[in-house]
């Protein structure tokens, strides 16, 4: 029997892996990948909880919204990365520290 | 203002005077000091002259003489009770000879410091403070007052050794200071303990009065140091025994007894001559005086049970000190060790708990007082001339300095207990008292007395050996011709200082009654105090 907790644990694992990638990776693309993983983990939670909301289908609906938003975010993010790459000739965020003065 | 207070605080006036006078009047300091000590000596002689010998003292205030009692500190501490500290001074047969001795030795000390030229202001001021403290110790009857004087004494000595001393003066001064401070801190603990155990029968308040502490009736039942129904113990040792041991320890450092003596040679060797004189002449006596006045009088029950150990320590000190003196190559160090040996006799005599032994111990203290002072002065004379004290560097001084040799020989023979001199009376009666102890069943076995008498033999050995090595034979000096010219015979000032000391040694040797008659009543009283516990 697959309970709610099963999903939640898996999603937590994925989320944390994504989190690690976001925090530790030296490539903007991998950071983006990390974000995707986190979003996926969130979607999994939506879906898992949505199982108990037959009336509104809130979980699945928002999962769809989230997927769309993620796709949009990836698109924008990749565009930014490409721009940055063009400007700095690197996608390692450590080397991109022009944000500070 | 009674006579004793004048005696105590007279040097303080001198201190003030010296401090007030500008440095340009440097030359007058020593005259001031000399004048005041002379005055003090005169006062003490007056005290001696008016002393009523038949009164005992010890634990009866009525039997004390020249008593002054003023309320000093009165404080209501609420739940703890009232703090009652008196300015209580008085003299009995135990303290009188020591007071006279102290004034005399002080006089010698001031005379010996005639050539001090390193900041004489501070020197003489400190010397006078020391003088006050010493007088205070010998006449204080309030334990708190006693302690205050005891502490006041430390400081000037520390500076006198540490500033005016020899090469390793700081080391010696620190050593001396730490040792003595250790003793006095321990003493303070017991004082506080006693304070809470004893009440003044008149006012009902806790008191520091030593005389009240000597009366078993004044102890609060169940208090820490109570006589009867005392269940207090520390690590299984009864509280009163602890108190006695700790107090004894404090005074034993001063005496000094053998395992605690190591400050003495260092302090003596490094101290300037006058300080050595005072150290040996007065300060060591404070130890003996403290044992009699404090340890024995306040804890007579313990004194009666522990005297075997005390006597053993005394005998060990005698032999150990003498043997160490035999091994010395430094004249001053030798005399320092001889002091250890001679003070061992004091302890043995005290521990014998016989009238002969106690009186002999007191006499030995007095005699050792000015004899060791004279000896240290004599070493100082030599050191002044050539700045060397190494025994093997001198030979045949007799033909070079006949007067000096005569004085040294007299002092040596007096110290080694030649009859006719005071040390003989002291040592002989200590030995006799120790022998007598078995008949009186005070618990000191005879072999200890025999051990002590071997110390007399050893003292003859090291003194005579030194005499032979340094003074007899053909003149041969380490420093050659330079020394030969530097080693002039005694001058008048030195003779004036030495002569009275040695004359006194002779006088007391021939007429010991000068001391014994004043002592006797007190000694008997003390024996009576202890006897019930034997």
């Amino acid at each position: 029997m697959i309970t709610l907790t099963h999903f939640l644990v898996v999603s937590a694992c994925i989320f944390c892996i994504g989190l690690y990638a976001v925090l530790a990776k030296r490539s903007a693309i991998m950071i983006l990948v990390g974000i995707e993983l986190m979003i996926n983990a969130a979607i999994l939670n939506f879906v898992a909880f949505g199982k108990y909301d037959k009336l509104n289908y809130g979980g699945q609906v928002f999962a769809l919204f989230a997927i769309v938003l993620a796709a949009a975010a990836v698109a924008v993010g990749l565009a930014i990365i490409l721009n940055v790459y063009r400007n700095f000739k690197t996608i390692n965020p450590e080397n991109i520290h022009e944000l500070k003065d | 203002m009674g006579l004793l207070s004048i005696l105590i605080f007279l040097p303080l006036v001198a201190t003030l005077l010296i401090l007030v006078l500008p440095t340009s009047a440097k030359a007058t300091y020593k005259y001031i000091a000399l004048g005041f000590t002379f005055l003090q000596f005169g006062l003490s002689l007056y005290l001696y002259g008016n002393f009523e010998a038949s009164l005992g003292g010890i634990q009866q205030l009525e039997a004390y003489q020249f008593v002054e009692q003023l309320s000093w500190i009165r404080m209501d501490l609420g739940a703890i009770g009232k703090l009652e500290i008196d300015y209580l001074v008085g003299v009995d047969g135990i303290s009188l000879p020591l007071i006279v001795l102290s004034t005399l030795v002080m006089l010698m000390g001031v005379g010996a410091s005639w050539n001090i030229d390193k900041s004489p202001k501070g020197y003489f001021a400190l010397l006078m403070i020391l003088n006050t403290a010493v007088m205070g110790i010998f006449s204080a009857l309030d334990f708190f007052l006693f302690y205050v004087f005891y502490e006041v004494m430390l400081l000037p000595l520390y500076f006198l050794i540490g500033i005016w001393g020899g090469e390793r003066r700081e080391y010696a001064a620190i050593k001396f200071f730490i040792y003595t401070l250790l003793g006095s801190v321990l003493m303070l603990l017991i004082i506080v303990g006693l304070y809470f155990s004893v009440i003044n029968p008149v006012t009902g308040a806790h008191t520091f009065n030593m005389l009240h502490m000597m009366n078993p009736a004044n102890y609060v039942d169940g208090s820490f140091f109570a006589y009867i129904a005392n269940y207090h113990d520390v690590f299984g040792i009864p509280a009163r025994l602890i108190g006695f041991i700790v107090l004894f320890f404090a005074f034993a450092i001063k005496v000094p007894i053998v395992p605690l003596h190591t400050w003495l040679p260092d302090a003596h060797v490094e101290a300037p001559t006058p300080v050595s004189i005072i150290l040996a002449g007065i300060l060591l006596k404070i130890g003996g005086y403290g044992i009699i006045r404090v340890c024995y009088s306040i804890f007579p029950d313990i004194a009666a049970t522990t005297n075997w150990w005390l006597a053993l320590i005394g005998v060990v000190s005698i032999l150990y000190g003498a043997l160490n003196a035999l091994a010395q190559k430094d004249l001053k160090r030798m005399i320092a060790y001889s002091s250890v040996s001679h003070m061992g006799f004091v302890l043995l005599g005290i521990a014998s708990l016989t009238a002969e032994g106690l009186a002999g111990a007191m006499f030995q203290m007095v005699s050792h007082g000015f004899l060791s002072a004279a000896l240290f002065f004599l070493v100082g004379v030599l050191y002044d001339r050539v700045h060397d004290r190494y025994i093997y560097n001198f030979r045949g001084l007799a033909s070079l300095m006949p007067k000096y040799t005569a004085y040294v020989a007299i002092a040596f023979f007096a110290s080694l207990g030649l009859p006719g001199f005071s040390a003989f009376i002291g040592e002989a009666f200590v030995i006799i008292g120790a022998f007598n102890a078995e008949s009186m069943t005070t618990g000191v076995p005879r072999w200890m007395a025999i051990g002590g008498s071997i110390g007399i033999l050893l003292s003859a050995a090291y003194f005579l050996w030194t005499l032979q090595r340094m003074f007899f034979g053909q003149t041969r000096l380490q420093g050659g011709q330079v020394w030969k010219e530097a080693l002039t015979d005694l001058n008048t000032r030195e003779q004036v200082i030495l002569f009275p000391a040695l004359a006194l040694a002779l006088l007391l040797g021939i007429m010991p009654s000068l001391v014994f008659s004043n002592l006797n009543a007190s000694v008997l009283q003390l024996i009576d105090l202890i006897k019930p516990y034997l």
């Binding site: 697959i2 309970t3 709610l4 907790t5 999903f7 939640l8 898996v10 937590a12 694992c13 994925i14 989320f15 944390c16 892996i17 994504g18 989190l19 690690y20 990638a21 925090l23 530790a24 990776k25 490539s27 693309i29 991998m30 983006l32 990948v33 995707e36 993983l37 996926n40 979607i43 999994l44 879906v47 898992a48 909880f49 108990y52 037959k54 509104n56 289908y57 699945q60 609906v61 999962a63 769809l64 919204f65 997927i67 769309v68 993620a70 796709a71 949009a72 975010a73 990836v74 698109a75 924008v76 990749l78 565009a79 990365i81 490409l82 721009n83 790459y85 690197t90 996608i91 390692n92 | -």
Partner: protein, 180 residues
């Protein structure tokens, strides 16, 4: 059987994700992401969200992943150098902070899930009790269609506009600017 499959998918997702974050080669990492996303889609199925799973595959695998690969390829040359220069260690030193943080976060979450599972929220209990759960026999796609067009029509429209804005913005950003 069902739970075995679930565990297989879950294991695949987690292991692949772990490999993903630890692999140095970005290209491989992206392919591992592909696997992760597939596995996730499989997991959605177990949550009875078949439409979401399909959308996941379509949008992510078909769109996002392609995009990422494109971007990777565009910045490839520099990226490879960069990868070479980084530390060969399995976990390079500055990463340990991230690792610790992630672990702490994970343990917090798992702890809270476990403590939470002991007293499940009321609405879930009610749903379970009343049988108002999505069942595997339900037609989810139809229900979703109805919901989108009725109850969620406004968010649906907004997200559509938003998506378009994003796409236009992305295109604008990534266009070559000669005048700069």
């Amino acid at each position: 059987m069902e739970s075995l499959l679930f565990y297989a998918f879950a294991g695949m997702a987690i292991v692949s994700a772990l490999l993903l974050v630890n692999i140095r080669n970005t290209a491989r990492a992206l392919f591992l992401l592909f696997i992760v996303l597939f596995a996730m889609a499989g997991l959605y199925l177990f949550a009875l969200a078949d439409f979401i799973a399909i959308t996941q595959i379509l949008v992510y695998v078909g769109g996002v992943l392609i995009l990422l690969i494109f971007a990777f390829m565009l910045s490839n040359k520099e990226l490879l150098d960069d990868l070479q220069s980084t530390s060969k260690r399995f976990i390079s030193l500055p990463n340990w902070q991230a690792l610790v943080l992630a672990f702490v976060f994970l343990s917090i979450m798992i702890y809270s899930y476990i403590s939470w599972s002991e007293h499940i929220p009321q609405w879930i209990q009610q749903a379970e009790a009343k049988g108002k759960m999505i069942l595997s026999t339900d037609n989810n796609i139809k229900a979703l269609g109805f919901k989108f067009m009725t109850q969620y029509v406004l968010p649906f429209e907004i997200i559509s506009v938003f998506l378009m804005m994003a796409l236009i913005g992305a295109a604008h950003l990534s266009r070559k600017e000669d005048n700069k």
